[in-house]
Symmetry: D2
Subunit: 376 residues, 4 copies
């Protein structure tokens, strides 16, 4: 597929994801870590405008000069940025103007891509599309939180892509240990943090062939999982106590047992489906309770088939916590320029997740992909 066609596909999907949401839905920031839908739509356009059009499209005219500051996320090298926690205060530009901004950027991008583009520009466009796919995932996660704050439990609706179909793999996948390579081999796209490919020494271990289910989790809860400090990291235990954790996020007690808020509204917890929305602290405590531990990211990467294999449920259901703190690979060099702020500066106080989630857009998963979140 051409870069142009890719561009259209990815950009259109963002608009499809926003389509079920009214202007009110798209404006609100329900907590500091959430960004408004409208902001995701604008910020992903800002990325192309800032890193591709302004430096590389002669004669390009900005849609609005103020957007440079308004829709910057965290790129300190680009200049001032609007405070993250105040994204929900920006009522204007409204949803319609943001739509117009997207169309303005799309037109200029397609015109640019219609001519010859050098490798640098093409690489930036590719990066921008992967960036937008990440924001598609965030957009869905964030609007889920926004809607969950409404006591009326409104539904978002179905996602515009199919459920993953998976074929069974062994219950446990054994590895004898030894030196193995991990990281991206530079064929095709990757983020800088997946490189360089390098060797690591694994010790003998085995990895589970399936995900932890809600039923497994109910057993953990029934056995006092949320009340036994010996199962928890100290930081996790204090967080769990301070915030009153007693079940995964979005689970709610009901007269008929545990219910769960999803993009489709509220329904009963399904014991057979994988548990989602658990923090690293919870996953770590669960593993300890189960007499196991979380895999390291090298163990995960060594065990997992590629996303296109259809084997196992490594991809498309839930990002999987690993035991690995998120740090640089040996010899890591951030990309040059402002896009080098993309990954490297977050390499502390986070853990790596591998795989991909139900809300990850199709085609975005890779075996070497390193997602990361703080443990809470």
């Amino acid at each position: 597929m051409s870069r142009s066609a890719d561009f259209c596909t990815v950009r259109t999907l963002t608009e499809q994801l926003a389509a079920p949401l009214g202007p009110e839905d798209q404006t609100v920031q329900s907590m500091p870590d959430v960004s408004p839908t409208k902001w995701h739509r604008a910020h992903t356009s800002w990325f192309f405008e800032t890193f591709v059009l302004q430096p590389h499209a002669p004669g390009y005219r900005s849609f609005d000069e103020h957007y440079r500051m308004l829709f910057n996320s965290y790129y300190d090298a680009v200049g001032p940025k609007h405070t993250r926690t105040e994204r929900g205060l920006i009522t204007r530009p409204g949803v319609e103007e943001v739509g117009a901004y997207r169309r303005h950027v799309d037109a200029a991008m397609l015109q640019l891509l219609d001519g010859p583009v050098d490798a640098t520009v093409d690489g930036l466009v590719e990066l921008g599309l992967h960036h937008e796919q990440q924001h598609q995932e965030l957009l869905v996660m964030d609007i889920k939180h926004v809607l969950s704050c409404n006591p009326l439990d409104p539904a978002y609706g179905p996602l515009p892509w199919a459920e993953p179909a998976t074929a069974a793999v062994p219950a446990w996948i054994d590895h004898p240990g030894g030196v193995v390579p991990i990281g991206h081999d530079d064929v095709g796209f990757s983020y800088d943090n997946e490189t360089p490919r390098h060797e690591v020494l694994l010790h003998p271990h085995r990895v589970a062939g399936r995900l932890v289910t809600a039923g497994d989790w109910l057993a953990f809860m029934a056995d006092g999982g949320y009340e036994r400090p010996e199962l928890w990291m100290s930081d996790g235990w204090h967080t769990a106590c301070a915030e009153g954790w007693a079940a995964p996020e979005y689970w709610r007690p009901s007269d008929a047992g545990w219910a769960v808020f999803t993009l489709g509204g509220v329904g009963p917890v399904d014991a057979d489906s994988p548990v989602v929305h658990v923090s690293w602290y919870e996953a770590d405590a669960y593993a300890r309770w189960a007499g196991a531990r979380l895999p390291s990211e090298a163990e995960w990467e060594t065990a997992a088939p590629p996303p296109t294999s259809g084997l196992g449920d490594w991809y498309g259901t839930v990002w999987q916590w690993t035991a690995s703190p998120y740090i640089a690979y040996p010899g890591f060099r951030p990309s040059a320029g402002a896009v080098g702020e993309y990954n490297g500066k977050f390499m502390v106080n986070q853990h790596v997740l591998r795989g991909s989630a139900r809300v990850t857009p199709p085609g975005h998963a890779r075996r070497t992909y390193r997602n990361f979140f703080p443990p809470h």
Copy 2:
């Protein structure tokens, strides 16, 4: 004017005030003390639904049962209420549904008012209209704050009523002291907190015949008004230091001197116009600096002509802080029922303001009116 006609007039004005605002503008809560426009529109309708239609209109059907909780403000006796600080999280019902809710309530109210109504119901309708007028004022104050948080400085536009025209009064109005009556005489509408009318003993004093101007305030600032603790109450000084106060709210330094954010956007401070948006702490410090003091509410009420006189600038420009903490008048009895929660339970930690403001809707001012806000 009939109660029906009154009803139409007041309800229509709310919609006129919301008209310049898009769905995004109407949804956001920019700080805990601010409520979204959409919420003001719904809550004022909720008041009529809850206190008039449900108890007194046989056969009335609620627009949506969930609104009972969603749009309650602070009436504990009515049942659970949605948390005030989370009003900005409610994206649904959206602006269109809130418009439909208003029309639903209006239709039922007009049908009710079309028939004979007893004095109780009529009193509740009258109260509801005054309540809505208060929220009209709040709606404008709140949207001003919302828009001021936007770095693009968007304008709301003109208010749908004229500027007050005022005729001069003496520079100082002297009073020899003595026992005078204050409070409402029960002819026409008043809130419970304006009653009972009673006598107070005034000491000799005089009250200024005009408001403090921005120019006066600039002199106060130039003389170190915000840097001299001896001018301030201790609480005020600590608040001013902690929050870095250096000028009235919405004033901003600019290359061309002080500018100010208004409903019409940003422009230069006009030295001749009355200063607005100052806290009690600031007003009290200013008065001390000027070798004076704030008037008590009894002194204010004794000095002020009625709102219809056109004399002085007592009404229609800015609510005026008094030296009086907001407490009950001797013999005060709150109204019966949930509407009795309207005023009485706020009688601590606040000060009385008198007069009315530029954003107060026409006809809402009274000489005995007791507005109240915390000193910060």
Copy 3:
């Protein structure tokens, strides 16, 4: 009694109050509103050093120049001061050096008082002694809080003065209303906030002849006093909910009913003794529950016999909340100089208490005395 003898008596009493406390007890600040015993001992000496000795005792040498900043409380006009919330961080000077500081100041003061002193100086000494008496009361209140934080419930021990003996007065004291004088008549000592004496207009009312007892309070609690929002000011209700109030401060549930932590350790609540350590919010809610209201300070002052009469329990048991916010009397002028910061700058967000408490040192009560505290 001569001023010298007064001085010795008051200064000695402070040392007697500190005597049961070890260096560890005297050093700790258990919350921001509490000051260490050691600090009270030093600060009261600092007052004499700063306002009497340095300006008026030729040749006086400071004990330590650093103490000027270290033991200033809130007198902005005197210069920088150590942060109030960090008083508990000062381990040096220790208790012994503070004792030496007191002896140094005492020696210089007695030498000064041995000669002729003009009225200004004498007035400052008198003020300093009343100031020290206030701090004696605070010292005991504060150490009670410190000791109450210890899970071992240590006792302070008995106070070095007798319990008040009181003679009965009528159950209700009626007043027909009318203009009455209140405030201090300038015979003998008073603080500036008790002046000027002036007339107020009372409305007909009656004041209870006895204090509310713990037994009364238990009835209030049994009737849901802490669970019924309609009894409370809105601010009070939110404070009570946020802090989980369910009984007066220092009351603790026990297997044998309510117990209470006192200066003598922990024991059962005595239903017949007056309730103490209740906030204004609680007192106001109690009064509303009892079908009454708190008296205004003018009503209290009009009803109360003088402290020396032995009639009623107006003095020596507990400071009594009034309905009156703490504001300036008409014509109030703060004292000149830094001592003018003593009272006036606190005249907002507080309520007046009248009478005196069990921990008030003998001779410190006056009928016109205006104590004040925030409502929480």
Copy 4:
């Protein structure tokens, strides 16, 4: 040396460290992470009482039953514990009683050690002594913070042991990479977190042969080290901005350049001495500025000579940050029982430090020792 003699040596050193401190110094907790000297003295005794005497010394009588709760630190398995942040509120038991408590425990311990002890008990005593050595280090670090809060800058005085004497090593120590063993070999004492010994794969690298000096740090500061976000992890940058970092902890600007608060009082910064009291965020930013990176803990352990070699400044000056997040070694098993809470439950959100510090008591350092602190 016998275990008895070891016991006497370690316990005596704690008392020597406390000797320069008065009761006031020993009582205060200057921030939540600091514990009072008195608490350190008591808690280390509690460790022997709880884990050795009560289970293993027949007929042992507790000094005071309340101490079980009062001086527990974080051992959830032992029962309730006093809140960490409130250690500074406990004025009683005082310093004298804590001294008596120590003597009581010492007598019982020496009696126990005088007879035959099995390996379990001996292991617990050994652990208790290493535990007490850790608290000796903390005691000194904590009292430094307490004294630094005093505007009078009081000095603690000299430490009761000599400065380390070090012999030079190469400027850079090269390593060709390959599989190397790290971790403790179980000869002599270690904490559980140093085990099991295992192999890791190193990549080619080199490690600096000397510590970063204050002079190096001044160059970093002069080059905008604290003002350039590109040098910092994102979390570090936000922490640095929020807390206004502009130099290492305890550095203070003075008219004569940078001064520093030390245990000996305040003096000028010595450019030749190693920089101390920098966070991981600062160390990481410095390394990036210097065109280098922090070593991993495996790299450090491979490069460092043993503590007894006298080569290099690996030990006795400052704990050295590594790039390694603190996680479990492969195959890690916590010790059994409550002492198993010692290390394992802190394996998240921290980084490993290696070596030892000026305040580490003699004999406490090991090449495999894993110290850990949060990055701020």
